[in-house]
């Protein structure tokens, strides 16, 4: 229990392509979170920002940038970067600060403005950079996700119809979410009619890049009690474990995996939630809902298995049975997931925590999962690391 912190405020800026400065999205999300917490901005002792690499220097020092934008008030700052797992690392920094007693209340925040089209590497001739090499050889980001998807088809017998069903489900979930970018009930026919990007993944199997922002106010349990929020949702675990050599999954931006010739090959994705479950003192059987990294439709199925929400290879059967949609046994991506949001890299791990918080409070409206008590997230960074956060009521 002593390792828990409370989430007393959450806020988001709607995802989209608004073309504004990322700071604007972050400030809106932060102000909503502060209001939701019922505290004053000047009560925040620590600002933990998730960095963006696409918005120049203010993005590299996101913690300070947001502290300044909200009005300098002397808070300490920190900035974290871990690609799509950035928000979880920013949350971990805030938790450490709170549990060590250095601060009582922290703002955790991430926002991004994304360019159009494919994400591309830096320019120049740079054959020492694996990211440059793989683009030169024609290996793009969708390549990796398509390889995982095809592997599921070859090994477990999943089909492109299964992947389309993930999109249809998530589109239905996000339909009423005021923060989602895409609010349309896409059909399996819509997915099948969309252009092939990297076989078997079509355009509608792969998520877009978006502008967006998300923020949390987290605090010590003592502080939550003091302001009359003793029953606030708790962060019970944050896992950011790295792989254990030899990492067996071909990961962006590498051209090859580690060699398993002398040390047994392992998958980090399976290790990641184990640490989270252990830390939270709960198991997969306790999970009420999960927000997972559906960068592609097929990847949602991989994550369900990695989080041990079902046996290896059984995720598609669970999906087909309707278990993972709202009203089912174990709803996945009730927010609509990246399918409805698109990637806003520094904000997405935090937006998952926002969704779980609303769900555990019973404030998710049309998306509400009945009697939700335990929620888990999964995210993936670059070079094979990731994050998983567990929230409990």
């Amino acid at each position: 229990m002593s390792n828990e912190i409370a989430v007393i405020g959450v806020g988001m800026h709607p995802w989209g392509k608004w073309g504004k400065n990322f700071v604007e999205y972050g400030v809106k999300a932060a102000r909503d979170a502060i209001k939701d917490a019922g505290i004053d901005w000047k009560d925040v002792g620590f600002v933990s920002g998730a960095a963006t690499m696409r918005c120049g220097y203010p993005g590299y020092v996101a913690g300070a940038t947001f502290a300044q934008a909200l009005g300098w008030q002397g808070a300490e700052v920190n900035t974290s970067y871990a690609a799509c797992a950035s928000g979880s690392q920013a949350l971990a920094a805030a938790r450490a600060k709170i549990l060590s007693g250095e601060t009582e209340v922290a703002l955790v925040i991430g926002a991004d403005t994304t360019p159009k089209g494919f994400l591309a590497p830096q320019g120049g001739e740079r054959p020492d950079d694996p990211d440059w090499v793989r683009f030169r050889l024609g290996i793009t980001n969708p390549t990796y996700f398509a390889l995982y998807a095809r592997r599921r088809m070859e090994i477990y017998g999943d089909t492109q119809d299964d992947f389309a069903l993930v999109k249809v489900k998530n589109a239905e979930h996000g339909f009423t979410n005021p923060y989602a970018r895409y609010k349309k009930k896409f059909t399996a026919e819509d997915v099948a009619a969309s252009a092939m990007v990297a076989d078997p993944l079509r355009l509608m199997d792969v998520c877009a890049t978006s502008d967006g922002g998300a923020a949390l106010i987290v605090c010590s349990e003592a502080y939550a009690k003091k302001i009359g929020k003793a029953d606030a949702v708790k962060v019970s675990a944050i896992s950011t474990v790295t792989p254990t050599y030899a990492s067996s999954v071909i990961e962006m931006p590498e051209m090859a995996t580690d060699s398993g010739a002398v040390v047994e090959a392992q998958s980090f994705r399976a290790a990641l939630p184990m640490k989270a479950y252990e830390e939270a003192g709960v198991g997969p059987e306790d999970v009420s809902l999960a927000e997972v990294y559906d960068l592609s439709t097929a990847l949602e199925l991989d994550w369900m298995e990695d989080l041990r929400l079902c046996e290896r290879g059984a995720a598609a059967a669970m999906l087909r049975a309707g278990d993972t949609k709202l009203g089912g046994r174990l709803p996945i991506n009730t927010s609509g997931g990246l399918a409805c949001f698109g990637e806003a890299v520094p904000a997405q791990a935090l937006s998952q925590v926002c969704e779980l918080t609303w769900q555990l409070r019973g404030q998710a409206g049309d998306r509400q999962v009945e009697n939700a008590k335990v929620g888990i997230t999964a995210n993936q960074g670059l070079f094979g690391h990731g994050s998983s956060v567990i929230l409990t009521k």
Partner: protein, 147 residues
Amino acid sequence: MTEQAKPQVPALEGWFTMDSDKPHLLGSQCTSCGTYYFPQQKNFCKNPSCDGEEFNEVPLSRTGKLWSFTNASYKPPAPFIADDPFVPYTIAAVELDKEKMVVLGQAVTGVDVSDLKAGMEMELVLETLFEDDESEKLTWKWKPVSV
């Protein structure tokens, strides 16, 4: 266009042998623990139980089993150098038996996703990645042994 033969050079220097018949990827092997690396690791071994700092350059197995596959239906961004108009290509991830590692690469021209099946035996060949005024830049590609 005349069929003048331009010199053939590797698109990436030192990543593979230029043997047109039986090319090999050039990896490295730690002299302490024996683990393999591709691309070559030259300074520090990444095995957490090994403090090795010496490596031998080794040719990697030139055949393996198909782990998974996909294609590129859209033109990738630079530094990829595309034909105009862009021609989609197939991509293979092949697991090398001895080295127990999966290596990515394009599949040879003419091989389609529908020709492939996980577990198929694949072999390494060299093919043109792109050409400029001076030379033809070769890279490794994967080819089903049965083709």
